[in-house]
């Protein structure tokens, strides 16, 4: 605790001495928050390849049922269920969470608050290692006998609790273990984030001088921490049901399957905001930089985030309107759910307000940030008919739900991550990404996503239910018109997935051969741009750790030559 700073000195000031470290200790066992952030990022991207391949397979099956899918084969019902289940699980727990929270949280929090590292670097490494273990477990769960778990990502018992029902004794247990282990990793990581942001801010950095993304990641971590506990307890109970023969969730012996739904959605709904908030934080950073504007109401945005977070604890039962809960409860939860539109709409208004009076530069990160706003709005408004109990009777578990939450999760997890990657890439790797390829990638992604999900709204309104692997078994759903919509969605998906190869090429090519980046290529105000690109171990030379004099978004301040005023520049 009281160790003198000088001990650390040689890692900060003379960072280049790191060259005598072996590859393993430098990249695999490093406690440097930046390396750990990149580990999370690359692991998340690797898992995204899985999570992205699955929908290719099952959408091909839906568009051309029964035919052999190229690069895969014929999709059996068992596999279909395992694919949709793990698409959801992988995308949320192994892509959105590690990339949005862990990768950017790790990379950015110390840099943006002017610290040299996380407060607990070794705990940080442990968190990554536990996370990596969970990723290995979920991958193993696909290839065990009887195949991966196929009971949907919500894992409702009794289906998930009894192998005689789900027929995947190995898959379901490993899935549960993987999810639980992943929760532990993020609890550890989250505690580190919050403590770091609370206690280790640079001298002069007050609460409201903290960049929005740091706030958002911390609020998200707190939300996660406060909501996941009951589900961890539930996971233990479900694990016992699966393997020890208890009957917590089996009504045949006094258990209650609805209890799991409460535990799951008490976590599951805040979880949406756990990944949403970091994405909005990223968007806040990017739209201020590229419109050269201060945030329109920094504190209000913060309060809307906190308000959303708190409200999200009181809406969980809107996932269970027709699940057999007391129908009177639905009225209460309709009110709370519709109320969530208040802070979220306010936040979107304020983001749009930030554009007012700006000088907007449409660079790739900005395009992604703007498409986040445009697309997320669709996801937001289509949440209302689902949150309203009356119309949810019809829309519940239909493709309308799928389209709705993909219009929220796609902007959050995919667009949000790309925004951040394009924006912070120069800082992370010291090189610029190719802009032309960036534009190509943006337009392919942002246009085709509508081609995928707008047809799904129509299919949902036409009464098509989720998780059904071949609609030809239902007379009303096997009409040529509806099938045409499915094919449109599938073709759009394939184009979008192909478009991601442009990004992958750009990412890895630019990492090694891109144009060299300066310290502050976007002329941004926050602290991470005041150090080298990429930052050395220790982030700043030890005697040059920044001191903060003002808020993070002082663009276009009157009476200055430059249109930005970095946080660390004294008056």
């Amino acid at each position: 605790m009281s160790e003198p700073a000088s001990v650390h000195h040689d890692h900060g000031a003379h960072d280049d001495h790191g060259h005598d470290q072996s590859f393993v200790s430098k990249y695999l066992l490093s406690t440097d928050h930046k390396i750990i952030g990149l580990q999370y990022l690359l692991t998340g991207m690797f898992m995204a390849l899985f999570g992205g391949f699955f929908p290719y397979v099952f959408r091909m099956q839906l568009a051309f049922p029964g035919l052999s899918v190229p690069f895969y084969g014929v999709v059996s019902p068992t596999e279909y269920n395992a694919l949709i289940t793990n698409h959801g699980s992988v995308m949320i727990f192994w892509v959105a969470m590690p990339v949005l929270i862990a990768a950017f949280g790790n990379y950015l929090i110390p840099l943006m608050i002017g610290a040299d590292d996380m407060v607990f670097p070794r705990l940080n490494r442990l968190s990554y290692q536990i996370f990596a273990l969970s990723a290995v477990i979920i991958i193993i769960s696909f290839i065990v006998p009887q195949g991966g778990f196929g009971g949907a990502w919500t894992a409702y018992p009794p289906l998930s609790a009894n192998a005689d029902y789900n027929l995947t004794p190995w898959g379901s247990t490993l899935w549960l273990i993987a999810v639980a282990v992943e929760f532990v990793a993020f609890l550890i990581g989250g505690i580190n984030f919050i403590t770091t942001a609370m206690n280790s801010r640079a001298p002069g950095m007050r609460w409201f001088d903290v960049p929005m993304i740091v706030w958002m990641i911390c609020i998200a971590s707190i939300l996660f921490m406060a909501s996941v506990g009951p589900l961890i307890a539930g996971a233990v109970m479900l694990g016992f049901d699966q393997n020890l023969g208890t009957h917590f969730f089996d009504p045949k012996a006094g258990g209650d399957p609805i209890l799991w739904q409460h535990l799951f959605w008490f976590f599951g709904h805040p979880e949406v905001y756990v990944v949403l908030l970091p994405a909005t934080g990223i968007v806040a950073e990017v739209i201020t930089t590229f419109s050269r504007k201060k945030l329109f109401g920094y504190k209000t945005i913060l309060y809307t985030a906190i308000g959303t977070g708190i409200l999200s604890f009181f809406v969980w039962a809107h996932h269970q309107f027709i699940a057999g809960i007391d129908p009177r409860m639905a009225n209460v939860f309709t009110v709370t759910t519709v109320l969530i539109s208040i802070p979220i709409a306010e936040m979107m208004f304020l983001f749009i307000g930030t554009l007012y009076g700006g000088s907007i530069r449409f660079k790739p990160p900005m395009l992604f940030a703007l498409s986040f706003i445009a697309l997320f709005m669709i996801g937001g408004v289509t949440g209302i008919p689902l949150g309203a109990s009356g119309s949810d009777i019809y829309l519940h578990d239909s493709y309308y739900v799928i389209a709705h939450f993909h219009y929220t999760f796609f902007p959050i997890a995919i667009i949000g991550s790309f925004t951040a990657l394009y924006y912070w890439f120069p800082k992370m790797f010291g090189r610029m990404m190719n802009e032309t390829l960036g534009y190509v990638h943006f337009w392919v992604t942002a246009v085709t996503v509508n081609g995928i999900f707008i047809p799904l709204f129509v299919l949902g309104a036409a009464g098509q239910h989720r998780r059904i692997y071949n609609y030809n078994h239902f007379a009303e759903l096997s009409t040529p018109d509806l099938q045409a919509l499915r094919i449109v969605a599938t073709v759009s998906l394939v184009i979008m997935l192909l478009g991601q190869f442009v990004f992958l090429f750009n990412f890895f090519y630019s990492m090694f051969f891109g144009e060299r980046a300066t310290k502050n290529p976007w002329k941004s105000c926050t602290l991470e741009w005041t150090t080298e690109s990429p930052p050395p171990h220790g982030n700043w030379p030890v005697d040059e750790l920044p001191t903060v004099y003002r808020g993070p978004y002082e663009y276009a301040v009157e009476g200055r030559d430059e249109d930005y005023w970095p946080q660390n520049v004294p008056n």
Partner: protein, 191 residues
């Protein structure tokens, strides 16, 4: 491995970083146990017939264990007291005593469970027993984890190093104790 980062030595909030983190750990643990206890209560209130099973728990062992844990918490306070004064060696002794309390708790627990299992009240016997073993088992695993960490901290405290950790493990131990205070009436007394 390397020295501590400067970040670790900062304390903008005025609370030592490690202590702040322990508070957050306890916060996250509260929701875990909160979820478990809430699930149990929901079931218990809906099934008055569980009292029949609950009557077979041995409240005397539970009471003794409550006493043992409370005493060990007192020892932890003592350890903190000496650590605060800079007397690492004495603090370590008190920590060993605290660990001993945890060990005694586990021994009683093991005896109690073996008797109950001997009577056929296994984890699958009835929903009450499922909750009983799950809740007490998760709690016991916290006791074990606390004991292991405490032994490590006592080792360093003996050398008068990292004395701030004595208080932090004490906080954790009080929390584990508190959970038991909730579990004891819910599992043993409520008939």
């Amino acid at each position: 491995m390397h020295g501590k980062p400067i970040a670790n030595t900062r304390s903008v909030m005025g609370i030592p970083t490690a202590k702040l983190a322990v508070y957050w750990v306890i916060g996250s643990e509260i929701v875990i146990f909160g979820g478990l206890i809430a699930s149990y209560l929901m079931h218990r209130l809906a099934h008055p017939e569980w009292a029949f099973d609950a009557a077979h728990t041995d409240w005397r062992i539970g009471a003794v264990n409550t006493f043992v844990l409370l005493t060990s918490s007192l020892f932890a306070v003592q350890a903190h007291h000496y650590a605060h004064k800079g007397d690492g060696a004495t603090a370590a002794k008190w920590l060993y005593l605290t660990t001993g309390g945890g060990g005694l708790f586990l021994m009683f627990k093991a005896y109690e469970w073996s008797v109950e299992i001997g009577h056929g009240y296994t984890i699958t016997a009835a929903p009450f027993w499922s909750f009983y073993y799950t809740a007490a088992g998760i709690h016991a695993s916290h006791i074990i984890a606390g004991m292991i960490i405490m032994m490590f901290i006592a080792q360093t405290a003996k050398k008068n190093e990292e004395l701030h950790r004595v208080e932090n493990i004490g906080l954790y131990w009080h929390f584990v104790d508190l959970v038991w205070i909730f579990l004891f009436p819910l599992l043993y007394i409520a008939k």
